[in-house]
Symmetry: C2
């Protein structure tokens, strides 16, 4: 049963679908948005908040957790679920992205990467087996293969090298798939090069993973190129497995990806933007700092049913944010996450009701990147 992915409804006019992915800690209903809990906390939120917000699954960052407090310590607590007191599914990334983006790399071989930790300069080595062992200690429900995500822009020759390594490493990681009830997803790299995406996807599918991610998207390229990378990958992915678009959290891009058959998303946007005072709404974003909200007695988002919107005004939240009170960031984070979950739940319902295309066109019509009011 663990690892089973049931498709529960399909859209008539697009490739959008709803599904249920079975993990050891519960069923993940797709399409799903996963808040990012980098260091064993979705920033400012308690696990109770995340239950109240009704999230099914959260993400943890292997690189950071292995750095501090350390995977062994977390294993001594019985895993990340116990450590952070969260009993629903957790997906962990492989650490690959941070190794390549944060650390000082000494050497890359076919076995893995030697690097210096970004936090204390410690010499470390991580390869596919190390990553899987760390993720096993963390005890996540879904682990990701150790991959190389090249930056953008990047020469094709280098991207090809990264794809070859990603494939080689994926072979190692596959040995751990559904071992001790932990699922492993493959990650398709290939940058903006369609033939490399195709090659990577096909090789990974031969390995038959529990799910597939579209990686290397949202690393600095234009929105057009993001969409093309999704298009150039998803067509090769099997229909009966969950598809996860990593790091994409812009509503318009999510809704497009869902129409193409993507099932899972994660992004730091709702939490990071909260720390910058940016309010997410179903109609666009706005900065709470703006003087025009000084005496605005409306909730952060009119019509929103979240606890913050039912309790506090924009004026109060602007005040908290402007005087540097932590409560401001906390309450805005709560609302932003609520809005993300509402967005994805609405999409799920619309697919189930076979009204997704209508929902999508209405949403795009009403949505402005920066809210005008």
């Amino acid at each position: 049963m663990i690892g089973k992915f049931e498709i529960t409804s399909r859209c008539n006019d697009s490739s959008a679908r709803t599904g249920r992915l079975h993990t050891i800690n519960g069923v993940v209903k797709t399409p799903i948005f996963m808040p990012v809990g980098t260091k064993a906390t979705v920033k400012t939120m308690s696990s109770q908040d995340l239950y109240d917000l009704d999230f099914d699954v959260i993400l943890g960052n292997t690189y950071h957790l292995n750095d501090r407090p350390g995977a062994d310590l977390i294993a001594q607590h019985g895993g990340l679920h116990n450590f952070m007191s969260w009993n629903r599914p957790i997906l962990t990334d492989s650490g690959g992205y941070q190794v390549f983006s944060l650390s000082k790399i000494n050497k890359i071989t076919d076995y893995g990467v030697s690097f210096k930790s970004h936090s204390d300069g410690k010499e470390l080595f991580i390869g596919p087996n190390e990553s899987m062992k760390i993720q096993s200690l963390l005890g996540s429900d879904i682990a990701m293969v150790f991959d190389e995500c090249p930056p953008y822009p990047c020469k094709k020759e280098y991207v090809n090298k990264a794809v070859c390594r990603t494939i080689a490493w994926a072979k190692e990681c596959k040995k751990y798939d559904n071992l001790n009830d932990q699922l492993v997803f493959g990650i398709v790299q290939g940058g903006v090069y369609p033939d490399l995406r195709e090659k990577c996807a096909k090789k990974l599918i031969e390995l038959d993973f529990s799910g597939y991610a579209i990686g290397g998207v949202s690393v600095g390229e234009s929105d057009d190129l993001k969409i093309k990378s999704v298009d150039n990958t998803i067509k090769f992915l099997p229909n009966d497995k969950p598809r996860y678009l990593m790091g994409v959290g812009e509503f318009s891009q999510m809704i497009y990806a869902i129409s193409k058959g993507v099932d899972m998303f994660d992004c730091v946007m709702p939490t990071r933007q909260a720390r910058n005072g940016t309010i997410t709404t179903m109609k666009g974003r706005y900065p709470i700092k703006s003087a025009k909200y000084k005496n605005d007695k409306r909730p952060l988002e009119e019509g929103c049913d979240c606890l913050v919107c039912k309790t506090y005004t924009r004026s109060y939240l602007r005040h908290l944010f402007n005087v540097g009170e932590i409560l401001g960031i906390r309450l805005i984070t709560y609302h932003n996450l609520y809005c993300y979950n509402k967005f994805i739940k609405n999409i799920r319902s619309s697919i189930e009701d076979n009204k997704f295309e209508l929902y999508k066109s209405n949403f795009i019509k009403n949505y402005n990147l920066v809210l005008k009011d």
Copy 2:
């Protein structure tokens, strides 16, 4: 009824008593500890947290609230209760303490103080009438007279001057007592000089305030001198009015003051210490940063029933604090406040059961300023 103070029980062996102070937003059961919500938030806590923690009354700082967001803005929300979404009693200080300690003072006269705001250098004037008007705009349940709190050490001549001004200003403030259901408390100053404390107390009592505060304590003097200031003031205060010891939050000093008949306390200790990673327990304090808690699976305080202690380990909270995650400060604040409220509730029960002296001696026997374990 508003302003009525009923004494509901008295200790046989000391001057400790329990009481009920009636305010427009509810009854305050004494002895009481009031968390400090300087800028319209008890730092990191939502109003729902404060309800869950079962606090009866919180404190707001007039100087800071008048600075940002401004008393007029708060009044346009219908007062501080509405602004911060808190429907139980609020006590506001007069702003005097911050005017003298934070701002750049230009001139002090019998009418008030001219100063430059600490935040933007704006030229401001505040005297007894200004302070009362601001507190009226804030709409607190209990307002404090505008007073001068001299620093420690301070020459007797200057303290006498401050006492004279405090008395003169109190006469102005008295006009506002129980006007529009807002109570006003007098503040006894006099530093470490018993005759000045006596003079100030007697003059204020002639004015017949709704309550009396012991001010100018915990401003840098030794513990011995703090105790003496309490002793040298409380004996002059009327029995049938609430007595409020300002700024004192050390458990041993609170319990002593309660034995002498003090009813109310406020202090930033539980919230400020949380931000420094200091855990309050009924047996003493300890720093969560310490390496010895790295793999400690116990709750912050063994036997504590608070949500944080029922959910998380020291190890997890140490991790959050050490990696700079806001959630750590938030959860420690919650526990510290819970502990303060439990402490004061236990004392109330012990007085009601006529077991206060036993509770006091046991508490002091078991309490170490720095927890040993």
